[in-house]
Amino acid sequence: MIKGTVKIASEICKGCELCIVACPQDSLQLSREINLRGYRYAELKDDNCTGCINCALVCPDSAITVYRMPKKSK
């Protein structure tokens, strides 16, 4: 499986959960903590992210950066 991960800007996130329902791997969840504006924010819950960028595409606040293992060059 392709290995990826996400970095979520917790102070920008508004906890809308759109990334959580868009994730095919069910890798994301809302935090228990709240950020300065009072929102629970999205965070990785499992280490099974594939770096598919679906979450980043639907995030209205552009809070997500996605990383992925480079494809093997032949």
Binding site: T5, G15, C16, E17, I20, A22, L57, V58, I64, V66
Partner: protein, 255 residues
């Protein structure tokens, strides 16, 4: 995230630089942010940041110029396409777009909208259809659905009394001035990918000078619809899309 977690991984998605770092005032889950983002991604990818001028509307996206890092002009309510007409005619070498909600484009600005497209102005018009007036507190828009409860239709919109959803995009597609007319959405990753492609095509068509490009984006308004953002996805899919089916309404002819 610790650096070691990222070791060996490459960045495959990052917010475009053409979007400012300013915190957006939109409600959680609002589709405006998604459209801003893909629009700015396209401008970054095409390398046209210094050649693009946007026109912002009155409505929730009235502050779009705070987020879109291109030259922008604010227009009076409903008049964005008329202002964009002026900008493009004075500066024909710039890429010009207008960005408007449904209350702006399809209610108070209906006249300007129709005549801009009828003149075939060489601009891109982006139309955010969330079926409601978001900014002013969730009043009925011309695009509201039959039966939709809004603050001005507390018993649901009754088409017999106050008309049917105005499919202004369908009307515009019939005008000879329209070059490319399409209806896209923001509710799934794939919809966002297609929206981005439509925006990219539209900017490329602007070089051809063949007429107006018009993109309707079926969007959401969690606050006005009084739903959680996640619930708006289902509503958009099940209630909005049957009235506003996605796809191209007019595709460019090669001549």
């Amino acid at each position: 995230m610790e650096e070691n977690v990222l070791e060996g991984l490459e960045c495959v998605y990052v917010k475009p630089d053409t979007l400012t770092d300013k915190y957006q005032h939109y409600c959680p889950g609002c589709g405006h942010g998604v459209v801003h983002k893909v629009l700015m991604e396209v401008i970054e990818e095409l390398g046209i940041q210094d050649k693009t001028i946007g026109v912002a509307p009155v409505g929730c996206s009235v502050f779009a110029y705070n987020y879109m890092n291109v030259d922008m002009q604010e227009a009076a309510h409903g008049r964005a396409s008329a202002v964009a007409t002026g900008v493009k005619r004075v500066l024909p070498d710039k890429y010009v777009y207008s960005y408007q909600g449904d209350g702006d484009l399809a209610a108070i600005g209906t006249g300007e909208t129709i005549h801009t497209v009828n003149r075939g102005e060489n601009i891109l018009m982006i139309f955010i259809n969330n079926g409601i007036y978001g900014m002013t507190g969730g009043q009925m828009a011309p695009t509201s659905l039959p039966g939709q409860v809004t603050s001005t239709t507390p018993y649901g919109r009754d088409p017999k009394k106050i008309g049917y959803p105005l499919k202004i995009t369908d009307l515009l597609a019939n005008l000879p001035g329209a070059y490319y007319v399409t209806r896209q959405a923001v509710h799934t990753p794939n919809a966002v990918r297609k929206l981005k492609k439509a925006i990219k095509n539209s900017f490329e068509y602007q070089l051809l000078d063949r007429g107006t490009c018009f993109i309707e984006v079926v969007s959401n308004c969690p606050s006005g619809w009084k739903m959680t953002p996640v619930d708006t996805i289902k509503y958009l899919e099940e209630e909005m899309l049957p009235q506003y089916p996605l796809g191209d309404l007019k595709v460019p002819q090669n001549n």
